[in-house]
């Protein structure tokens, strides 16, 4: 069922100023966030455009004093999720969401090969590929936690889930990233 049409309201100067200011201050960050989520320029452009149209429509719901970036990231995240649902028919979860303990850790030391041999420049391509290979949910939490350096609480608010879910997604994503970086590093040698 289509959403009820909102009554026609002419734009106000205040509304236009708000949009202008937010695009100037946060447009670049929003676009780059969208780019990291989608891994695709065309999708990132569409997502950014749609997000700012939502900002324009719902500008009054933004509470001054709160983080605009968190708000716009939440909008982008929701739009991205909707788009994935629309494209796939359902939002696929590659790895089940639970807080089950992982197969490593405990009383045994974690004997893993460090990635010491890769200098930063060598890591860049495998890291980029590994990030792109993560599931959308895992990529989202890695982008927010490691690139945007947000707290678990902030990520939970943006992603619309619990802190426990953020924690579990990030743990799995980090585990997956390590394996993927090793794999792509080996293939580029």
């Amino acid at each position: 069922m289509a959403a009820p049409r909102k009554p026609f309201e002419p734009p106000t100067q205040e509304q236009a100023d708000f949009l202008q200011r937010t695009i100037e201050q946060y447009g670049k960050a929003t676009y780059n966030f969208a780019l990291r989520l989608t891994q695709n320029e065309a999708d990132a452009r569409d997502l950014t455009q749609e997000a700012y149209i939502r900002v324009y429509r719902a500008w009054r719901s933004f509470q001054p004093g709160t983080s605009f970036l968190s708000w716009i990231y939440r909008i982008v995240t929701n739009l991205h999720r909707d788009e994935l649902r629309r494209r796939k028919g359902r939002y696929q979860e590659e790895i089940p969401e639970d807080n089950a303990p992982q197969a490593f850790g405990g009383s045994r030391p974690l004997a893993v090969e460090p990635i010491d041999e890769y200098v930063e420049s060598q890591m860049s391509e495998p890291v980029s590929k590994a990030l792109a290979a993560l599931s959308p949910d895992q990529r989202q939490v890695v982008v927010l936690a490691d690139i945007e350096e947000l707290s678990y609480q902030e990520i939970a608010e943006i992603a619309g889930c619990s802190i426990g879910t953020v924690r579990s997604r990030l743990h799995r994503a980090r585990h997956q990233l390590r394996k993927l970086i090793e794999k792509y590093s080996a293939s580029t040698k």
Binding site: L35, Y56, G105, P109, L110, R167
Partner: protein, 183 residues
Amino acid sequence: MTNDDASREHPDLGTLVDYLHRELPPGSDAALLAHLESCRPCAVVYEEQARIGEALRMQARAGERELPQGVVASIWSAVEREGSVQESWWERLTAAFRPVVAVPLLVALAIAFFYFGVPAMHGGTAVARTVDAGYLLDDHAALSSTVPFSESAAVPASLEQDHPGGNQQWVADAGAAGGAATH
């Protein structure tokens, strides 16, 4: 995990990731720091995770783009389109007949039809339909009164005096009277 446990046991990857993101409670954080200082294998895993984080940030910085001007222009043109959208006659019509308007209107029309439309269909003039209450009372009294000649019917008090034998005698007398009348 207590502080002692944390310093003795090797943390799992999740705990190291939480530590890296400064999401451990202060006590556990301090205990894990002490553990990492004394446990080389765990320190190696931690450093590896820290390097992955740094590589992610470095890769993100390197790949950072300016917001394309085309996007800004598209946002403004979409906003202008939205602001200048005029509702078509069909949209105005459907808005006028949205449920909150249409339902009371239909109810009013139905009432009007019942009062004025139905009589008009039956002769064109409004005919007052009255009920003769006296007729109904008479009818009711007739139905509820005793049916003569029924075997199960109670004998009227006036006849009971004449025929103390009860119903059977009364019925027999009635039958004899009927037979006499036919002859």
